[in-house]
Symmetry: D2
Subunit: 306 residues, 4 copies
């Protein structure tokens, strides 16, 4: 998110608008925990993973009372508009504030790529490249060791990362929250690869798939599919790391557009990548829809697996 | 290009079509230097930079006689259709063959991103990430050493890489083929950064800019702009490296679409990324237009520099 | 191992000795599955993880009969000496052959760094850098999310990787096979970090530690240590990846020395890194001793944790 | 250097000693520009390139008067001992202070690895890995493009980086400050590689070699050696980047030993890596000797080139 914060601050400065950074999201907003961000104070943050503003969940903010406190703080501190960078929960909050006449623009950031209204959210490309390095490493030794590798990646409700990692990492099989796959089916695909003479097999499993990596391993080992199985659970290493070029550019463009929209008096919208353009989408729509992975990609992965 | 070759071969196999890989481009086509590519033979190439098929320039192919030889070889070897992956020169050749009734589909690959008709060409994202790591490294020590760094990147006619690297690398200034910038202007910007108290300055220079990195260094040193200057010329390291997630996905989608188009009897077109979709663009148009960088990005970089 | 194979082949060529590469280790030796390796055929393998010669375990080779077959194949193929690159099992095999008058030199390769007689084995430095990137990624977001991360790394009998990763990754705590640590003790350290105001905590756990990452997570969650816990299991991604500079240099020096030793008629020894020199150590000693991690490093990690 | 700073601060804290960080080296010492460093304030710096303390050269400090001012500041601020992390110039300064009865310990940090008394200086391994990635990238496309690549790396007086990069990057030829090589000789080697049928050639050139990369290119192009030539000048990107595992461990061990030595009342020594141990070496010796690359490595590179 840092490249986005930098873009917001410097664009605002360009338009003569002052910016305060709020620590720990809505939690910090309620506490009034904010500090001025100047073009200088966002120097040198482009390459850092994570965010210079801490993040936190706030249950209190979900209540009317919490939101009232947040709005009171904004008035007290003379905050005229809010840019909310985050995932589904954050955007729901933004939508709630907009409904209470706060000027607010949302920016989608979620490595699951589960936000409706934008092709890509901030963080997805970086996460995908991290996964890719991991899978490439597995392939290096896979061919030496005659093994099936089960790789668990993020994605509770949306299998975007798993599907893409499967295509470009050359997986034998992908398990998604969006597609029911039985253990028998998985075992069949892996055993077929073994029989076909492949010297390794990679299975990418989304966190939200019906069966987890550890469970699948146990069942495959019982069934004996030819390969010995090994598990990798990437976990939160997918959330960090040096932001990629794509992520930095996306974050920058979204940040610039968010400030410009707010400056034009627009509110209640999210900035999103549509085709190759940054456009506005009503938060109303964003929060009322679920985004799942395009199953064409799932089919493509199957076609390319060998 | 390897992920594209893999996608072509495996998609073709899916549709029951045989594929031969031609070594060294048109040069190899004229010589009939080709070998069967099977789904197995393109295993394990996803993560490799460069191409498993060598590349070469062919002056002979630019002549009618050369093209006649190429077509003769295709007939002899019973090649029914051709997929050409490459930059401007390769696509001109593809267009010429299409005009002689060869079934051909072009796939854009050029790290300069100078091909009209596609938002992104294969190789651009990988090159941009390589540049980014280099600039991040410079920034690590830039803040320790009070220096101005002149970084020369690829881009003879199109400053896309330089402009993007400038935005997301946090450059003070960008020199492009598309924009005239005098040495005095450059010196002014760098000196202003020094006066403003910055502890470093990064200037990204496209290969095709009016003034090269070495020349600029000499002139800046004569003028004394406050910072000591240092030059980095990345050169061909931008062409190699593990393909990024974006590049692998783009290459895969373009390869799939190229095969499907050829299978449907389509010819004389290039597959390109338009918005978020892969679409066809007539080679006629592709070869008759030049693509330069969108100057909005140049302005964005100036706004964000500090 | 590829840089070592390259060094062996080219050094041998320099001395006018022919080299055959044996696929799948002793298994391949028994089958006589070998092919000539020339200086040219080991070009372009320096940067590849894994090995161009497949690896495999061979139970048959552990028997006298298996070893007799292997020696028969060597005589048949006129192999005068053997260089064995591998871990504990491979070196035991090498020792057994040496006892049967086969000329053999061992080269230590094991990412666990559990081989006695060498400061470092091939693969350790690359694995350690892979772990480090993972931990750095965790730290990026750790500071945003108030979490404790449990990271499981390789090391069944020797906690070298875990200890080193703990020191240079800034872990709160390290669990090793060599040191008994109770769940209560671990919980105490993590809770103390939470109370002290740290916004994250990293615990590195060797595969061979008494308690595994998943188990520890479950117990910590029951006990409530302040932080929410998350698990990363790196698994076999530690075995692959582009070999680092250190590993390539070590592998090269060991390979050169192995060939030179064999050429001088030396046998039954392992080449190892002692101080900054490559020296010979009797295989007899290597296979009869176990190497564990120097506990000074464990103490150092504790001192530096904060 | 950041891992070293962290180790110094946390070790000192362990022994109950307070630490002040001095900005911009001796320049800052003279100005009394220092701030307290606590275990907490060095959290999260392990993975950052460069140094959190700025660096600067100080001509004034080389004079007796400058040194007198520095010592006066130390007395005023009640600094009882000094740890100097740096290269040749910094260690000369440390030696001068030691001669004036200041308690001082030196820590070698110089990417050229030109400091006598230590096998490796801080920064060398990170620089070498950066160079390696660059050369690997060149090799990816080298095999596609029939080119000779001239790569200029750091090393004014000591060709360590060039020699090592040459061995482990698979260079055809290495030009060092320590070895006279004529243009004709270089041209001969490259032409021979072309004639032998190689599809690329890599030449690594130390900054301090008699002939620079740009000059060599011009001369080779005039002579026509078969390959087309391309230049890469890495420049200061070698100084930055995430510190590698080796560098972090070395920096940590040196930092710990420096504090412990100072605490034991030792002064006028440098901590260095000797074999696999951290030992003390008199600064007197360190500053009176020059370290050059071990020419055995140069010979090894020649033997392995093909």
């Amino acid at each position: 998110m840092n490249p986005c914060i930098r873009a917001v601050v410097r664009t605002a400065s360009h338009y003569g608008v002052e910016v305060a950074g709020i620590s720990e999201g809505y939690e910090g907003l309620i506490r009034g925990d904010m500090r001025e961000l100047t073009p200088r104070s966002v120097g040198g943050i482009l390459q850092r993973g994570g965010t210079i503003l801490q993040t936190a969940r706030s249950d209190y903010f979900r209540t009317d009372k919490g939101q009232r406190e947040a709005i009171r703080q904004m008035n007290e501190k003379e905050i005229e508009g809010l840019i909310v960078i985050g995932g589904d929960g954050s955007l729901h909050g933004a939508h709630a504030l907009a409904n209470k006449n706060v000027k607010v623009i949302g920016v989608p950031a979620s490595i699951d790529n589960d936000i409706w209204g934008t092709n890509m959210s901030i963080g997805v490309d970086t996460a995908l490249n991290t996964i890719l390095v991991a899978i490439d490493n597995l392939r290096d030794t896979a061919s030496s060791h005659n093994r099936a590798f089960l790789v668990e990646v993020m994605g509770r409700g949306c299998g975007y990362l798993a599907a893409m990692a499967g295509i470009i990492g050359g997986a034998e099989m992908i398990l998604l929250p969006e597609v029911d796959t039985s253990v028998e089916e998985a075992a069949g695909v892996i055993e077929a690869a073994y029989t076909r003479g492949k010297n390794h097999s990679i299975i990418v499993i989304a966190e939200g798939a019906e069966i987890g990596a550890q469970d699948l391993k146990m069942k495959l080992d019982e069934m004996d599919v030819g390969f010995r199985t090994r598990v990798t659970i990437l976990g939160h290493i997918q959330r960090g790391g040096r932001p990629t070029a794509f992520d930095r550019l996306l974050a920058t463009r979204l940040g610039v557009k968010a400030v410009e929209s707010l400056a034009e008096g627009i509110s209640g919208e999210m900035v999103g990548l549509r085709g190759s353009k940054i456009e506005l989408v009503p938060l109303e729509k964003v929060v009322s829809k679920n985004r799942t992975v395009n199953l064409e990609y799932y089919e493509m992965a199957r076609m390319l697996a060998f």
